[in-house]
Symmetry: C2
Amino acid sequence: MDELAIIERLKEIFARAGRDSDSHLKVGIGDDAAFFTPRATGVAVATDLLTEGVHFNRQWSDLYAIGRKATAANLADIFAMGVPPGYLLVAVAFDPADRESIFELAQGIADECALIGARVIGGDLSRAESLTVSMTAIGEGDAVVTRSGAQVGDSLYLAALPGRSLLGLEQLRRDLVLDSESIAFHRSPKVEYRSFLDAAESATSLCDISDGILIDAASLARSSSLSIDLESEALRAHPAFAAIADVALALEMDPLQTVLTSGEEHGPLFTAPASWKGSKAWRIGTVKARAGSLLTLDGVAIEERGFSHF
Amino acid sequence: MDELAIIERLKEIFARAGRDSDSHLKVGIGDDAAFFTPRATGVAVATDLLTEGVHFNRQWSDLYAIGRKATAANLADIFAMGVPPGYLLVAVAFDPADRESIFELAQGIADECALIGARVIGGDLSRAESLTVSMTAIGEGDAVVTRSGAQVGDSLYLAALPGRSLLGLEQLRRDLVLDSESIAFHRSPKVEYRSFLDAAESATSLCDISDGILIDAASLARSSSLSIDLESEALRAHPAFAAIADVALALEMDPLQTVLTSGEEHGPLFTAPASWKGSKAWRIGTVKARAGSLLTLDGVAIEERGFSHF
């Protein structure tokens, strides 16, 4: 099977996902570039590069799960601007001897795209010794919510509480199974994409929880030139905290630290006026004027730690 | 130097290239995604993934040249649609111990972008054992020229004659210097970007010569469901042929095969009506109805061989 035959099969896999007919897509897979006419006045673009051993581990996940997870991370970057992604470019470098597994990866990408009606419209194939995946997600919208709009007095909110991805990873590292749900979640997180758009309606600043609450809250604070105080009682009161704490304690991990540092979960972390009453978000902190530390937990300075890929 | 400090320095390097002020760029480097309002009714996007040992060799090129070359390849994909690229996303995975070299790479990217007023507006950084670079170029235009519009009776044209990149590569492989100009060209090709837009004004089909004349002419023929006959006399009559042939013969390489298979040169290969008189393009073949082989040379079937990265 040569490159052209691989591309034909990939086109079939990707054709099954996405919009059935799309009059805005003028040129798709197979030319020098894809070409579309945007549905809105603005276009959001974000790129991710994932390498074996850093972003994924083929001993712990199959390529289908890796495809879903990589896609989720890239789509979430666009959702985190308050805009729905519609298109994806996918570039893959892989060992040609291992080409069947590329179709598993593609199926994972296609299935994650299908959840939100996004479509792969182009990409690149190359040989390499280890697997590398690069994705670029594209969204269309008239306006976006950035990380830099938080105001003193705003509250900090999230929708889903992180924790499960780190618990799953820790079990994979220790080669034990205490809670299969969190292992499955680490391999391929179930992302509530809609929650980003709900958040964007009221958010003054917004980002995706990709590196964990501490790193991403610090990023909002830095971009907005403010401080953020996280409230441990509010975090512990989140409806999902108890189940996460149970597994964390069984693994002899600190429940609050688990929640604060688990990454690759992909949900909205955002600021909104303290008076805001969102039904699908949970208040976990307060935006304050910058005075010393970027980030505090119950008023005490806390280090930015989490799930960085660098 | 941590990730944030690296990103700050990269922002400075990229800020020096590109449009001085750009009212269409609403969100640049540093948020979850970049956001812009297109200047035209359509958007062209293309992605490339380059890995060490396949697309570049750090023993033969410094990172500045690799940055220029990678950028040229990606920008040419957008130009090959007949549209000028304005924005670039760059994702890099690299060994953190080697981070100074990332700034050399970035300077190469910025300098190549500056040639055409393009700008890096976002990206991703990750650690990895070997260097991997992924780029996504974005262009804006109201219409594009695809690979699929060639008509029976059209002629095949190119602007610059390929050959030098392969001659340069061969000297690097053999560790000798017969012609330093072609070695420099292999490390970082000088692309006549404007020639793509000139070609697009009259082209019925158009692509970039990235894999070599044979592979790319076959691609035009395949996409247009036609055959293409290349004419060796026309190729030999190109003003650049003699100089390429001299170096090829000194290296005991076949001059015509060198011209037909040299890749990574990046110039327009296109079809246009036979009656067309373009001053900056050279006629090298004829589009015929499909009868057997996709590609012929002087009427004799010829295999698609060239500079594939797969």
